[in-house]
Amino acid sequence: MARRVWLFLALWPVVGFGLPKIETWNTANGARVYFVRAPELPMVDLRVAFDAGSARDQTQWGLAGLTNGMLAEGAGGLTAQTLSERFEATGAQFNNSSGREMASVGLRSLTESPYLERAVETLGLVLQKPDFPAEALERERKLMLTALKQREQEPAAIAEDRFMGVLYHGHPYGSPPHGSAKTLGALNRDDLLAHYRRYYCGRNAVIGLVGDLTRPQAASIAEKLVSALPEGAAAPPLPPAPKIVTPIEIHVLYPSSQTHIWVGRAGLTRLDPDYFPLYLGNHVLGGGGFISRLYKEVREKRGLSYSAYSYFQPMRVAGPFVAGLQTSFEQADQALSVMRETLMKFVADGPSATEMEASVKNIAGGFPLRIDSNDEVIEYLILIGFYGLPLDFLDTYVDRIRAVSLLNIGAAFKGRMDPPDLVTVTVGPKGKPPPGAPAPPLEPAPAGRHH
């Protein structure tokens, strides 16, 4: 009897729940603003994101990260200590980050007056009046060198860095966001200022706000945050992702007990017409957690790895498709074979109708879970704004997933994955010597290869 109850309930359609209503406008200097009013809690999340990640570093690896990290290290004549005290005396939480494409600063604050006003004022200084003080620069540079060493003792990070470096060799996505020891050492204050002046400008910015604000309040905050920045210009388009013409296999020796395996290639762009078939197909392949094929083949059937997954990371130009796992080094060859066979079989045959249906149910039925907190909504606002996704992206998401057919998935995967010119990076204690293709260097190529 219980069994029938859940079957009945599971068939209930999820309809008519409140999607966030997005309002959008531009600031006077051309920053695009995305706002969702969420009056339930007396708090606000806000973020300003720029197309100013490591893809803009050219040969100065680490420049974007160091610039972003320096913003709150001194601004408007105030020290890092004073800035952090100003935020924290109001209970506000400041955040910043810099990845391959995006660099951002943000804030979580109470909306109660005068706490919000003070936090916004301080964030405005950080964003618009950074001083880049010399002594803080040396300290931040050293902190980045320490962070590099941290990555060098993590097999997972070594694998990621090598994979991205090889896959995007010579392309802006190949610049590691955390830099290299050599390039970090060469960066100076003028480099940071130049990066800041070029990329931290109105036309290159997206502002997201979610919280207990009225639209006029949101508009006023957005202006306060960026009005002193120049209008500037959006960052130029990036070159297309490089084509890998023959499979590349690289093994990095590391004395760990496990071998970490990354297999993949350039995948898809944010605005790719095949986004939905590829997303849905990958849910079946390795994105759907406990029900995905890779998880079943690698972990459930063979017990080879704690995690086994695949994902597309959509970016401005084709971001990576990655399949990964970690396993005791003795069984690395077996695990790699299982992973490749699973991948190739999926590309050849696509998902079954049952598998596709199961994934559609999970994505459609679970959609409300993705946007049930301010924290998640602001991520979507920045995503929509940064990549220029349609404003109804969330409203139409489930319908577009449901509209995908088996044929769409098959065609999309064949189009992306055939021929199987994959990059394979393994990191572990032993293994085959790297065959054929030489590993590209870990330092940037000479200047001027792209812009």
Partner: protein, 457 residues
């Protein structure tokens, strides 16, 4: 310098106007008890048509003994490997098909299973959780494969992570007799020797409605959730819950020190002081006033609760002796626990300099009461964080589950704020003097070894 002082004063003035009003009223929470001893706690949150459901069992690695370490966690894995009614894999298939997210986690003091679903599907979660509360199949074949997965997990999380390895060693040295000396995931040799019979015995001993708490947070009506819980969990039989053995730590008689040498790029330092937790204050209020535990909480915040706190300020920015420095303290642990300071030396600085700098901070805490504006800033952060936490239904449910699982009342989560607000600078100094002493200290250091032979990177 001048500007800095001025700013401080302005910050102080803002705060003396009034602390933030702590935002919204405490959420509506209802508690129910089923006849079989299952406690149900429901918190309403109507912001989205979503529900979080968590089943917490009062068992974890601190209930284990040598020889079977890791059994709670291994059993958690096997809870996804089939029941008498649903074969292996079906649990996850059914949750996924209803749009759910699910997983589980094991700690020292609890094992918890959760689903997050569209609210219409709460019954799916209840049906399946009720089924595996008493009807787990534990097939030998699945165990043989799954224990290999657990060993891979150990390699991933601990064996190949120098900082985790050091922390594991530090716990084993800091605690002599307390079960906190065992890692949650278990020692590798115990995992290698583990049998499905060990898991079966553990399951039969601890998995019963009267040793569990069901926590539901979301867009639900508490009475309806109670009815649903009665329908699915009500028929389950309760079990005799064994009286736990005393799991105490013998008194420490002096400082301890341990070195871990491992292939790594970064040295690291961990200083761990034995300190009381809320349960210590409940058990022994005469010697450990509850206020002390909250003073330790404020002390942790004062040291590393934000970028303006003492460790980032003094050690990272002013002395440039640390690349990072963080404090750990969990007042909700079931047994006497640790107050830890964990730090990585800055580029070009050595562990000894870092340890001296940390000891100077401790000494200062003992000798000088913290300035009022510093304490106020801590409180402002904590007050605001209480509001921010309400953005996460999952976290709300976690807090209830943590407290109930260690035998405390979930209502403490609403008393937390007032207890923190009441802490004075003098109380912070007192607990620093009383607990951050050498006799309670274990120091662990990670000394990096170079990778043998030249690596390929």
């Amino acid at each position: 310098m001048r500007r800095s002082i001025q700013t401080l004063r302005v910050g102080y003035l803002v705060l003396t106007l009034a602390w933030p009003a702590a935002g919204v009223a405490a959420a509506e929470v209802r508690e129910f008890m089923l006849d079989n001893g299952l406690k149900l706690i429901v918190q309403e949150d109507h912001r989205a048509p979503v529900v979080v459901s968590q089943v917490w069992y009062k068992v974890g690695s601190s209930y284990e003994h040598e020889g079977i370490t890791g059994v709670s966690h291994a059993l958690e894995h096997m809870m996804f490997q089939g029941t008498e009614r649903h074969p292996a894999g079906e649990f996850s298939r059914l949750i996924s098909a209803s749009g759910g997210e699910e997983n589980a986690f094991t700690g020292s003091d609890y094992t918890a299973y959760f689903q997050k679903m569209a609210k219409e599907n709460l019954a799916v979660s209840f049906e399946l959780e009720a089924d595996r509360m008493r009807g787990l199949a534990l097939p030998e074949q699945e165990f043989t494969k799954e224990i290999k997965v657990v060993m891979e997990e150990r390699r991933l999380r601990t064996d190949d992570k120098p900082e985790s390895l050091m922390a594991e060693t530090a716990m084993a040295v800091a605690f002599e007799t307390s079960p906190y000396r065992h890692p949650v995931i278990g020692w590798m040799h115990d995992l290698e020797a583990m049998t499905v019979a060990d898991l079966r015995a553990w399951y039969e001993r601890w998995y019963a409605p009267n040793n569990a708490t069901l926590v539901v947070v979301g867009d639900v009506e508490p009475g309806a959730v109670f009815d649903l819980a009665k329908r699915f969990f009500g028929p389950l039989a309760s079990a005799t819950r064994p009286a736990p053995k005393p799991a105490r730590e013998v008194a420490q008689k002096g400082p301890r020190r341990v070195t871990v040498r491992e292939v790594a790029r970064l040295p690291q330092l961990l200083m761990a002081y034995k300190v009381p937790v809320l349960t210590s204050a409940v058990a022994n209020p005469a010697q450990i006033p509850r206020a002390e535990v909250f003073a330790l909480e404020v002390l942790a915040e004062l040291l590393s609760g934000g970028d303006s706190a003492r460790l980032p300020r003094h050690l990272v920015r002013e002395q440039e002796v640390a690349a990072s420095a963080n404090v750990g303290y969990n007042l909700g642990d079931r047994l006497e626990s640790l107050f830890t300071l964990e730090a990585v030396p800055a580029e070009g600085r050595v562990l000894a300099a870092l340890e001296s700098a940390l000891r100077r901070e401790i000494e200062r805490l003992r000798s000088e009461p913290a300035p009022a504006e510093e304490i106020d800033r801590v409180k402002a952060r904590v007050i605001a964080r209480k509001v921010f936490e309400q953005d996460s239904m999952f976290y709300q449910a976690m807090q209830i589950g943590f407290l109930e699982s260690v035998g405390l009342d979930w209502r403490l989560k609403d008393q937390y704020l007032d207890a923190v607000k009441a802490v004075t600078a003098e109380e912070v100094r007192t607990v620093a003097t009383k607990y951050l002493t050498d006799d309670r200290l274990t120091v662990a250091v990670l000394e990096p070894l170079p990778a043998p032979a030249a690596g390929g990177h």
